[in-house]
Point group: C2
Chain length 140, copies 2
């Protein structure tokens, strides 16, 4: 039960991620999107016609979670899903024009945040942070 908070690096990572998510949430909100929706649209734009399962892997969530996100995007008319040619068990997902527009607006705001973060570090510091975080992840 005794471990000084100074050594609990988990808290620092969590706090950083929490602040990042809060900022991104506010940013993409102006496009009427949530962060998971923005992430899905971004991946969808890079890989048109991708399946929901593949999209889930890309976004590091479970297929069920992605399903809910896609359901909401569908209801808002930002994507459309159509049955695949031979893979009858597969649904092809594509952005609609409204989806592309929402993504454009959201990405504009989101990039501002990422740029502000990136500019706060020198290239060497960025590399150091990435290396340390990679070791952090690997240690778990």
């Amino acid at each position: 039960m005794d471990m000084p908070p100074e050594e609990r690096l988990g808290l620092d990572v969590k706090r950083a991620e929490q602040r990042l998510m809060a900022a991104k949430h506010a940013a993409v909100k102006i496009a009427g999107l949530t962060v998971p929706q923005y992430a899905a649209l971004l991946a969808l734009d890079a890989s048109p016609g991708i399946s929901a399962a593949a999209l889930a892997r890309e976004c590091l969530v479970t297929p069920q979670a992605m399903n809910v996100v896609l359901k909401n995007l569908l209801e808002h008319g930002l994507i459309e899903r159509s049955p695949h040619q031979w893979h009858r068990t597969m649904l092809e997902t594509h952005l609609t024009d409204a989806g592309r527009e929402a993504l454009r607006v959201a990405d504009e705001a989101a990039v501002i945040i990422e740029r502000r973060i990136a500019d706060a570090f020198t290239p060497e510091e960025r590399a150091t942070l990435r290396t340390l975080l990679a070791r952090f992840t690997a240690a778990i």
Copy 2:
């Protein structure tokens, strides 16, 4: 729309936090707890009788979110809440014996993870990581 992923540090932080949460989730699960429940019990153990609102601030969540967590803990008999003496609008929250035991079991497993992470770095590296993460947070 164009920003090379190499410069998007947010992804690295998110991945690290995600892996950390997954590991902690598995750890505290053996005590029948979720991570937010574990965090609440930990803070509750450090500050007996604290109010739900104060607990929410401690755990960096909204009072509503904490309310749900406490409701579940209450149903599982891990905490008890009683009206405050003069602050009639306040509820004092305390751990039950079952709560203390669950916290003990969960913390034992959780500390193993934090220790494994801490041991993956030298003290200087730990300090560097904390500094960089602080600047990361501040930049947002």
